[in-house]
């Protein structure tokens, strides 16, 4: 039992982040070691999947499966306690998988300062894991803020285009959001103390207690929602994402799309939905409209983009909108669909960014007009990118469909608010809009006559193949046997909604 301790799971990346810059010399050694550490961490995370049979209870209601909590600041009731349940388990495994693949993918994109780069990647992984594992609200906020530092360095040092600008924009944006979160945390922390006299930051007890005055609940919900909306990203607060993606190097934008967007969604489920279900129900129409707008708005803009990476960035905004649709369904199907869509989007957008990275490293340009006819030179790469693009459109047989279908079916049969079926119908336009820009990408980039200056591009390297193939294997495997994915987190969600 003590073999699987959350603390070690969390601290492995931190230790690696510290050890690598201090004790390891030589670029190849650093890369090899970080690959080993990330691989080990992935396997270790997979052990948790085997250990946590899904029949166990949810996060709050039944006892947590695994919880090692040390009291940290006794006077304020803050304890360094970690816990895991179905939803956070899936997120943890997704994080370690994408970090492992990002490290493999950063073999050629990173030319200098290797030590600093790999330690920043592990620090980022440590922070994101902390967010998913934290059971203490203070801890959640701490890791939420910690994640900004490595991300800033990763974008601004190794980025291209205007790295400093977009890194700063990313940090300021998230920071702006997290101010509201801090205010709401303190609000409920204080109310909980005033009402029950017990000073605690523990998510379970704060969540279970529903004696907060209505006004506090209302504004705390809005505060949390804004912080998570920035990270989500929901349309009005989304403009940091395209810049951050375009200017970040490929592995970093894989991480950004694969994991960081999930933090916003995870927070929305873990805090907004579990703490204030009634308020969430009250806000469901508005949140649904936000989701609707970000789906259609981002999908249309993606079609008009000329920069391939920006197009993929906008497509990920549009797909995260579907997660919102699932959440607003307020029933077990919708929420598990939302989590499935988060995992699906994580895998697919990581794959898409890898694809864009490969194209960029071959043709040194991301402008779609200049690209064309790559299929003749890289036929296998063409087939893999067909699978990736169509997975992002939500083709059945691939994991994208599982997420979308569950979200939309959940919304179709939900009774959250009166006209949810009509909105679901409109929201499902994403199937067409998505197909429009994805097929146009495939047509303009891969098909057609080969432009002459791409004659001597070298074939796709084995490590790039490994990254793409592993992602595509997962996409197809979960597409054909979705129950292995949905089964992990559907039990805790059902037990929340059944209570």
């Amino acid at each position: 039992m003590n073999l699987l301790s959350l603390m070690t799971l969390l601290l492995i990346p931190l230790v690696a982040a510290i050890v690598i810059p201090l004790f390891i010399e030589g670029e190849v050694a650093i890369r090899r070691l970080s690959k080993i550490v990330a691989g080990f961490h992935l396997i270790y995370a997979l052990f948790f999947v085997l250990y946590l049979n899904p029949s166990d209870g949810a996060y709050q209601v039944v006892q947590e499966m695994l919880n090692d909590g040390q009291v940290w600041i006794n006077s304020l009731g803050i304890s360094f306690s970690l816990a895991i349940d179905g939803v956070s388990l899936v997120m943890v495994v997704l994080t370690s998988l994408i970090t492992f693949l990002a490290i493999i993918a950063s073999k050629e994109c990173i030319k200098d300062k290797h030590k600093f780069y790999y330690s920043m990647i592990f620090l980022l992984q440590f922070a994101v894991l902390g967010v998913f594992l934290a059971r203490d609200l203070f801890l959640f906020f701490l890791f939420w803020e910690l994640e900004l530092i490595p991300m800033y360095f990763l974008i601004s040092i190794w980025g291209s285009g205007r790295p400093k600008y977009s890194a700063m924009k990313f940090v300021l944006y998230t920071f702006f959001g997290s101010l509201f979160m801090l205010a709401s945390i303190l609000a409920i922390y204080y109310c909980h103390f005033m009402k029950t006299g017990s000073l605690t930051m523990d998510m379970a007890s704060l969540g279970m207690y529903n004696g907060y005055p209505a006004l506090v609940q209302f504004f705390a919900f809005i505060g949390f929602f804004i912080a998570f909306a920035v990270k989500f990203p929901i349309v009005p607060l989304h403009s940091w994402l395209p810049d951050a993606h375009v200017d970040a190097p490929t592995p970093v934008s894989m991480l950004l799309a694969g994991i960081l967007l999930k933090m916003g969604a995870y927070g929305l489920i873990r805090i907004n939905l579990y703490f204030f279900p009634s308020i969430f129900n009250f806000f469901a129409p508005i949140i649904f409209i936000f989701g609707l707008v970000s789906i259609i708005y981002a999908a249309m803009i993606a079609f008009a983009q000329t920069d391939l990476k920006k197009l993929v960035a906008y497509s990920s905004i549009s797909h995260m909108g579907i997660v919102l649709v699932g959440l607003c369904a307020m029933n077990a199907i919708g929420v598990s669909g939302a989590v499935a869509q988060m995992v699906a989007h994580g895998l697919i957008s990581a794959g898409l960014f890898m694809m864009v990275g490969i194209i960029y490293s071959r043709t040194k340009t991301r402008d779609i007009e200049k690209l064309g006819g790559l299929a003749q030179k890289l036929p296998v790469f063409y087939y893999l990118s067909i699978i990736l693009c169509l997975a992002s459109v939500g083709l059945p047989g691939l994991v994208g469909f599982v997420g979308e279908a569950l979200c939309f079916f959940g919304a179709a049969v939900s009774d959250a608010f009166l006209t949810i079926q009509l909105f679901t119908g409109i929201a499902f336009i994403v199937a067409i809009l998505g197909a429009v820009y994805m097929t146009s990408v495939l047509k303009r980039v891969f098909c057609g006559v080969m432009l002459d200056d791409y004659n001597e591009i070298e074939p796709v390297k084995p490590y790039e193949f490994f990254v793409l193939l592993s992602l595509i294997f997962l996409i197809i495997f979960f597409g054909f046997f979705p129950h292995y994915l949905v089964g992990i987190f559907s039990v805790p969600i059902e037990s929340f909604f059944s209570v």
Binding site: I386, L395, I432, V449
Partner: protein, 634 residues
């Protein structure tokens, strides 16, 4: 027998394995021997065909209770989605038709694609299509149908865009995929609406979610739980799927462009199997559609309009494949017309016959194109009957049966006409008769332009290889005989409860007379040996009509102009809005402190005198203020 039915799912899964086997094996040994991928695909399809024969036998024996097997695919919350297969009359007939036609086409395409470099990829895609189509035919519930519905759309996307070097091919593939996607959008919305309406039925009584076996009770529950208008909307959305897949009136634009695909593909997908999927799904959803009479009318009228339009457009096509594509479109319109007026078995019968006939016609066209080294324009053909008699005569059989003169086409068309007559809608009946004449006219026009008269093209005509002509002969048999054989027993085998008896005895006579008259008319125009009337002369009065047909009734123009341009422009405007408003507003908020700083900087300018001036000014102000207070006090 039981054993075979137990693992009928093998028929569906095996093509998928052969697809993966060819794809993965591409690098390795498959390249050594060209025929391996062909043997693999053909073998799997042959196995499927045998299984389908057994399924047919089973379906004939016990017509009442279909054989069904399901397993849970995914469950979350209260919904459990399951996959499985269902053998009943409809699916067994379709299964037999699909497997037999794809078997013949795969044999044929071996010789057709022999010298094509990506030979293996073609067979991989063909087996993937088989997997999707058989899955669709066998599926036991609506959810699984939707999944395979999209996979079939994907297969057609891959096959149309097979020669991705050609820009037009990839454009056509994208167009096909998008139009099908619109259909899928409608279909899934319809399914979700239907599920919402009949939610508590599925939740408590039914064994399989959205299963076809319990569809009838579910529709009663759904009808009760909403107004007839709401039910019509849901049913209409579901009907949107078949409209896109079978290229009916508003969404038929992708079928002619899909001719960019290699000819065996057009024969398999865009003539026989995939486009028939739309009719198959309408048949499956008949219990739902039948309960909303308005929708039935709509289906009939959509079918009629498509038949008429496509027939007219086929008149003016010079590309042989496009002509055949439009004829498929119009025959599909016929089937929907039949289903719309309630002639369920007539529609399905016509579907079966038409699949074989159209596959035969396409394969003959493919043979012609192949031998004329991919020359598709009929104006450069002619007089090929002497060079390739087999192709010519099989093509003739196909034309005869399609125009409904003697062979199997006659019986199916006659049943449809009597069905329409029985439904009493005379307007539709006249349209049907007129299009029957038109279809006879345009099919024989292609025959005369290609096989009669003297050879107008300049490229040398190679002989047709044996591997190609065998499937033609094999196909010619059912397209000739099948109609007569099955006409008496089909309508009680595949029926939806009621029979349509034709009480107007002269109907067959009229349809034959019309067909013969239009054949004679076609021979006048296009049989240049007996140049009776100069075709240009006739065309003069019909100038505007001719142009209308050529322009495809401006529908293509409409789609391209309105949708494509407006959507692209809106997207461009939106992206600019996003760039200069949302983005810029964020930049402004971040830049404003910097700007404010710069503004304040003006005051610090290292001139001592100015500073003291300001301080004196403030001092004076202060004294003034004090004085005002003093005055007040003093």
């Amino acid at each position: 027998m039981e054993l075979i039915l137990q693992n009928i799912w093998v028929v569906a899964i095996l093509p998928l394995f052969s697809f993966l086997f060819i794809i993965i094996g591409q690098k390795g040994f498959v390249h050594l021997e060209k025929k391996i991928s062909m043997y693999l695909t053909v073998g799997v399809t042959f196995l499927g065909w045998i299984f389908s024969v057994f399924a047919l036998i089973y379906a004939i024996q016990n017509q009442g209770n279909p054989f069904q097997e399901n397993f849970v695919w995914m469950y979350s919350g209260s919904l459990t989605f399951s996959m499985g297969y269902l053998i009943d009359e409809l699916s067994s007939v379709m299964l037999f038709m699909v497997t037999s036609i794809s078997l013949l086409i795969q044999i044929y395409s071996h010789s057709y694609m022999k010298e094509d470099p990506s030979y293996h990829r073609f067979f991989a895609y063909l087996s993937f299509f088989n997997f999707a189509m058989i899955g669709l035919v066998l599926s036991s519930n609506l959810f699984q149908t939707y999944i395979f519905w999209e996979l079939v759309g994907l297969a057609s996307y891959l096959l149309i865009g097979f020669w991705y070097k050609k820009n037009s091919a990839s454009k056509a593939a994208q167009k096909a995929f998008l139009v099908n996607r619109i259909g899928d959008f409608g279909l899934l919305l319809g399914i979700m609406g239907f599920l919402f309406l009949s939610y508590n039925f599925w939740f408590y009584e039914a064994d399989v979610l959205l299963g076809f076996s319990s569809l009838k009770q579910a529709t009663e529950v759904a009808l009760v739980s909403t107004s007839s208008k709401g039910f019509f909307v849901v049913a209409f959305l579901m009907f949107l799927g078949p409209v896109a897949k079978s290229a009916q009136f508003p969404l038929h634009v992708w079928l002619p462009d899909a001719m960019e695909a290699p000819t065996p593909v057009s024969a398999l997908i865009h003539a026989a199997t995939m486009v028939a999927a739309g009719v198959f799904l309408t048949a499956r959803l008949y219990p739902i559609f039948i309960l909303s009479p308005v929708l039935m009318q709509l289906i009939a009228y959509v079918g009629a309009i498509t038949a008429l339009l496509a027939a007219c457009m086929a008149l003016v096509q010079y590309d042989i494949k496009k002509a055949l594509a439009y004829s498929t479109c119009s025959q599909l319109g016929y089937m929907f017309l039949a289903l719309g007026v309630g002639a369920y078995s007539a529609g399905m019968f016509h579907l079966l016959i038409h699949a074989y006939v159209k596959a035969l016609l396409f394969l003959c066209a493919g043979a012609v194109i192949h031998s004329l080294s991919s020359q598709q324009d009929m104006r450069y053909m002619g007089g090929l009957r002497k060079q390739m008699p087999v192709v010519a005569y099989t093509y003739l059989i196909g034309c005869l049966s399609l125009s409904g003169i003697f062979l199997s086409g006659f019986s199916s068309k006659e049943q449809i006409l009597s069905g329409i007559l029985a439904s009493g809608n005379m307007f539709l009946f006249y349209i049907a008769l007129f299009t029957a004449g038109l279809s006879a006219f345009y099919i024989f026009r292609t025959y005369f332009m290609v096989f009669e008269g003297k050879y107008k093209g300049e490229s040398q005509v190679e002989p047709v290889s044996k591997v190609m002509s065998v499937p033609l002969i094999v196909l010619a048999v059912p397209s000739a005989v099948l109609g007569v054989l099955l006409s008496w027993c089909f309508d009680d085998f595949v029926s939806f409860g009621f029979h349509t008896e034709n009480h107007f005895v002269f109907l067959p006579l009229i349809s034959i007379v019309i067909a013969l008259f239009s054949v004679w008319l076609a021979s006048i125009f296009y049989w240049d040996k007996k140049k009776l009337i100069d075709t240009e002369l006739v065309k003069l009065p019909l100038k505007s009509l001719h142009r209308l047909f050529v322009e495809k009734f401006f529908i293509d123009w409409f789609y391209d102009k309105i949708l494509n341009k407006i959507y692209a422009k809106a997207a461009y405007v939106l992206s600019k809005f996003d760039r200069f408003v949302v983005d810029a507003s964020i930049d402004i908020t971040f830049q404003s402190p910097v700007a404010a700083g710069k503004l304040l900087n003006i005051v610090q300018h290292k001139k001592i005198g100015a500073y003291i001036l300001v301080s004196v000014f403030l001092l004076v102000l202060l004294c003034g203020f004090i004085m005002s207070i003093l005055n007040l006090i003093v």
